[in-house]
Amino acid sequence: MTAIEASAAAGSSTFDRLGLLAAGVAISGLALGPFATLKPNRILDGAPVSLFAALSPPVAAAVMLLAAAAAIVVALRTPALLRLLAGLAVAAALLIALGTAPSHLVARDDMLARIGPGWGFWLAFLAFALVASDAIVRLRLRPLMRVAALALVLAGAGALFASGALDDLSLLKEYAPRAQAFWSEARTHLLLSFGSVAAALTLGVPLGLACHFSPRFEGPALGFLTAIQTIPSIALFALLIAPLGWLAANLPSASAVGISGVGIAPAFVALTLYALLPVVAGVASALASTPRDAVEAARASGMTERQALLLVKAPLAAPRLLASLRVTLVQTIGLATVAALIGAGGFGTFVFQGMGQTAIDLVLLGAVPTVALAFAASVALDAAAEAAAR
């Protein structure tokens, strides 16, 4: 090996490409970008505030030192567990530091001013979050451990919010007066998304089985469900107002259980219809993907069609089934936001209120938990699919 080759090999093994990029982005974000934005009130545009202006000097110096140390750790080739801890530590430290910005920047009696994160903060926060999630992938955790890691991160974030350290930030200032509404909309959102996916499973699994056993049925059924999928969501909500309103007006028992033209009923029906296509297509294609040999062996061993389905096809199709359930659930959690438009509630309520008031922090109050919910559901079902594949 020549000296040049040796130094090239040493160079490529010293640095971690993703880590180097993330460290560069994070440090330049903190050094050059605004750490926070200061708005005179919740509607006006914000003014950028740099790291050292936004935080008291000791806090700012501590943040910079910690970020620099962590940047060195992630830029070099280091063990995945160390990278994970570095990423999580900086992400948490950035949040806590941002939580101290309001008391530093704003007079105690100024109730109108709003402090939120600036793009420099976001760059650094997302870069280290990316390093942490990349480290989790590199750790090759078993499915159960991944879910445990997710639960730990969520519990940590929950503890941070509950501690009050972030209470002065703009997002939580929007939350504070709406705490009760927030949790009731959260319940509605969960009911809408998980409930409609459960309904789609109840209807869709038998339909998927019918598609599997009768190719003649599969074409028209999937065609019909695809056609539904092409209707824009707002149009589908509107289309359902008329029949459900008629039902409520003419059937006393229907209105008694809460069915009406607007509100939760049409949203629930529409979300269920949207979820049907991925469920039905997922069941049919997962069952079709089971190895032919195994299915023939099941028959040849004397299994009935039903036994072959339950004992061989279903367990072999389970990973794919869970993967398509994951797509369905994530799609539905996101789509449920739109349901607020017809008065169904859910996190979308805050999004549309915020858009109406041009209050971007209120929009975020609806959007952030929606994204977190979809992310958590995705990680959990991904782990379940992998566990089923073992």
Partner: protein, 313 residues
């Protein structure tokens, strides 16, 4: 006994099997040989109703199989497929116990049967029972597949290119093991293969199929020495046909009185082995001895060479 009577199977316009009749006696082993597309697998699968015939019928032990529910029929007929076809999500033990469980055997009986079969096939039950198929070699998977087919003590075993996915050395060993297994269990075997050597080694009789038709059936020696049609001739024709033919005969058939010098050959040896021994030691004749070493006469090079020649018309 299995009787296939005037059986046909059409897929649309094409006939996969055309008017085939065959009988397989109790305890007999029949090898169905043909190139791909000859209909041999289709024919085999009509016996356990994996394929339903378009015309004709299959009778097993006096019972028309179309009158038996397919899943009940298949629980009494073993089936081995190419590449073993094990259930990838189940251990070897679970794979083998499939049919006994469907038949609701008691747990101790299942355990005893699986252990017995694994041992019989040369796999240690404690080591191999808990393994998943992906933790087994091709040959081991194939043996587990045979054990699964035999688990419910069937008297009939159907084999569809059972050794097709194995490499030659493992394959030869599997063929020897199967022959021994068959002798021990007294199985009736119907085996499908495209390999004429395999058919000759494992079949008491060979049935040759071509484009859905049965061209010829007979003992391996009959097929090799008197192919009935050009297609059969093409299947058996090759440079080593004389040696294949000699491999099927025993020295017992050619013993004549007399005496000769040198190492003796055993009366149970194949003619091919005797020819090899004579060629190697540059002799015209060798003494023949019985199992106990007693002298039975001689076998001559001249008779051996005649036995390997094309029979006169």
């Amino acid at each position: 006994m299995i009787a296939i009577e005037r059986l046909s199977k059409r897929y649309g316009e094409t006939a996969a099997v055309a008017d085939v009749s065959l009988e397989i006696a109790e305890g007999e082993s029949l090898a169905i040989v043909g190139s791909s597309g000859s209909g041999k697998s289709t024919l085999l699968k009509t016996i356990n109703r994996l394929v339903e015939p378009s015309a004709g019928r299959v009778v097993v032990d006096g019972e028309d199989v179309s009158t038996v529910a397919p899943h009940l029929l298949r629980r009494r007929i073993g089936y081995v497929m190419q590449g073993a076809g094990l259930f990838p999500h189940r251990t070897a033990f679970e794979n083998i116990s499939t049919t006994p469980r469907l038949l609701r055997w008691e747990e101790p009986r299942i355990r005893a049967r699986v252990d017995e079969l694994l041992t019989l096939l040369g796999l240690d039950p404690a080591t191999y029972g808990p393994r998943k198929p992906h933790e087994l070699s091709g040959g081991e998977q194939q043996r587990v597949g045979v054990a699964r087919a035999l688990a419910a003590e069937p008297r009939v075993l159907l084999m569809d290119e059972p050794f097709g996915a194995l490499d030659p050395a493992v394959r030869a060993k599997a063929q020897v093991d199967l022959a021994a297994l068959r002798k021990r269990l007294g199985l009736t075997i119907v085996l499908v293969t495209h390999d004429m050597d395999e058919a000759a080694r494992l079949g008491d009789r060979i049935a040759v199929m071509h484009r859905g038709r049965l061209l010829q059936q007979g003992t391996p020696a009959e097929i090799f020495s008197r192919p009935a049609t050009p297609e059969v001739a093409a299947l058996v024709a090759s440079d080593d046909r004389p040696f294949r033919l000699l491999a099927l005969g025993s020295v017992r058939d050619l013993v004549e009185p007399g005496s000769a010098a040198g190492d003796p050959v055993a009366v149970e040896a194949t003619l091919r082995g005797a020819l090899g021994a004579l060629l190697w030691s540059r002799r015209d004749a060798a003494p023949v001895v019985g199992a106990g070493g007693e002298a039975l006469g001689i076998v001559t090079l001249k008779r051996l060479i005649e036995a390997g020649a094309e029979p006169k018309a």
